[in-house]
């Protein structure tokens, strides 16, 4: 009874997509490892339907933030709500009805090495919805593999047989297995060649638009930030020092933000983005995604 009331109030009902405005709300997060303080009173809200890029120097706790949100890391203090459910109050492995609503792409893909790509995608389906028939589950898995931009033949391959870029896509296919509303991507374009990275960006954006995803994206890739992120959150000094669109961030005068976006790489990324905007405005169609279907 009380359980029901709780979900009513928080606006998360079974078999219904989340209708609230902020699928992720982080308040007063503190993460401390021994003497080392990673986060100090960190707060962040992610809007529904946006791609939020999270940037910050190495060691500023981007991955720790993501691990805290998905419940892999219990924070020292603070509260994190995902879809209105508190992650921090739940036990580490307690089922609070949000795990089947998110998908996570880890940095190295984290595919199960003894299973093929297709079987990897089937794992979450089997775990959460055992009532689905084998045939339907196989069909769903196949579809997800293709949705991630892999060929059909890749579904029966083992992760060790794939290239780095294909492994990322396979990881994405597994993250999308349950049709999540929230997608976490940890440096999805790291280690990809520029062409592959641009394709992955385009895929992320396309998926976000078709499936109505909210994307929490950790990245170092300035091109990704310019190309697909709706807003960018900057982690520095143990907290989120600014959240906003890139022009809004450029208007602030924090030295790290200035250095980040106005350094040589930042300027290049900005210039190339302006270039492609111009070309598109001129009616030159650039198929950045390079999709074979179009």
């Amino acid at each position: 009874m009380s359980d029901d009331q709780n979900t009513e109030r928080e606006g998360l009902r079974p078999n219904e997509r989340y209708r609230g405005n902020f699928p992720i709300v982080v308040e007063g997060l503190v993460n401390r490892f021994g003497d080392q303080v990673v986060h100090e009173d960190l707060s962040l809200k992610v809007k529904r339907g946006e791609i939020l890029g999270v940037v910050g120097g190495s060691g500023t706790g981007k991955s720790v933030l993501m691990r805290s949100i998905i419940g892999l890391q219990t924070p020292t203090e603070g509260n994190i709500d995902v879809f209105g459910q508190s992650i921090t109050e739940a036990e580490p492995d307690e089922e609070i009805g949000v795990r089947c609503r998110w998908g996570v792409l880890f940095q190295g893909g984290a595919l199960f090495s003894t299973l093929t790509v297709g079987e990897n995608v089937e794992v979450p389906l089997r775990q959460f919805f055992p009532e689905i028939s084998d045939e339907l589950r196989a069909n769903i898995a196949r579809y997800k593999v293709m949705l991630s931009g892999l060929t059909e033949a890749a579904a029966s391959k083992f992760p060790a047989e794939l290239s780095g870029g294909m492994r990322k896509r396979a990881g994405l296919a597994r993250a999308l297995a349950l049709d999540p509303e929230l997608l976490f991507l940890d440096e999805p374009t790291a280690g990809l060649d520029p062409v592959g990275a641009a394709k992955f960006d385009a895929l992320t954006k396309e998926l976000k638009e078709t499936l109505g995803l909210t994307v929490f994206l950790i990245t170092h890739d300035l091109d990704t930030l310019y190309a697909i992120c709706d807003r960018v959150a900057v982690l520095a000094d143990k907290k989120v020092i600014a959240v906003g669109t890139i022009p809004e961030l450029l208007a602030t005068d924090h030295p790290w933000i200035q250095e980040y976006f106005n350094g040589p790489r930042g300027r290049n990324a900005s210039r190339s983005q302006q270039c492609s905007d111009l070309q598109q405005a001129d009616g030159i169609v650039i198929d950045k995604a390079g999709k074979s279907g179009n």
């Binding site: 997509r17 297709g118 079987e119 028939s133 196949r142 949705l147 029966s156 349950l178 109505g212």
Partner: protein, 370 residues
Amino acid sequence: MDGVTSFEIEQGENGSNRLSITGALLVSTVGAIDEGLEAIDQPLDSVDLSAVTEIDTVGAWIICRLSQRHDLQVEGASERAQRLLHAVQGASNDADLSPPRAPLWVRVTEHMGTKVANAWTGIVQVVGFLGQILVGLWQVMLHPSRFRMRAFIRQLELVGVASLPIIGLMSFLIGIVIAQQGAVQLSQFGAEALTVNLVGRITLRELGVLMTAIMVAGRSGSAFAAQLGTMKLTEEVDAMRTIGISPIEALVIPRVLACTFMMVLLGFYSSIVAIIGGAVVGELSLGIPFFTFLDRIKDVVPVYDLWVGLLKAPVFGLIVALAGCYHGMQVKGNSEEVGRRTTQAVVSAIFAVIVLDAFFAVFFTKIGWV
């Protein structure tokens, strides 16, 4: 009502059948209606989605499949449903998820053939590896400054000194067991005094070195394989090569030499401790005073028993180190391979040691060292 997904078929005025679906069409709910939808065998003309509250790609895929099978008109789809239906179109469904699998008789014969071929190439490779070590040793002898003294001493410590407690304990207990069990049997002939002969000869000649070799194979042979295997995986070995350091000289030779040398000392140590264990039993339960027991050893054990043990020891040491280093250097691919190769290193080392020990037994008997 809330959350229950259902479907029904309505008869239209002009005889057309219309399937209408109510509720959420999500991955969490389709399991309940999928079979029912599959089982529809009457002709359908259209599907009505206006009562569908939620839809995801799985729901869209099911509608897509249904509409293709019955050639349906999709009606009442929300904007999101239309977008998803469009997105899932063109997804084919005949690719295999499991790895390709040959028929049983092909797999069995292929597996056997691979085993046979591998056994042969394995022998060739081990001999090649031994050759590489010998060449490396020759190079080191020509240029003594290239010998890795620090690595050698470190390995002496790891293989030898660090294993003294465990080998000592094992040998002491083996000495006790042999003396105690031997005395029980020999007392049937009233020959308890021969327990001294039994303990002295069997430990110096056979068990001291053999048990030590097995222990070192488990302790150091596995460590060699795991260490070198991990270094192969992390490309440390390749990095060495590019800098111009021969991995054989830097990694393998110190280990092989340390293991060969230490096995002699450890084998001797093990025999001595086992004899002490026997003497303790003699003192406590056979009525042979401790020092008398040790004194008798000198008289009843011929000195060539010691040589038998000490001649076997370096050979066993070489085999253990060779197996460990060889399997370590063969690792490629993933971390699972490290585990497999480590197991193989230990198993093949122990096996080779026991087989060779049998050869040695026959050989030394033939030359008159009985």
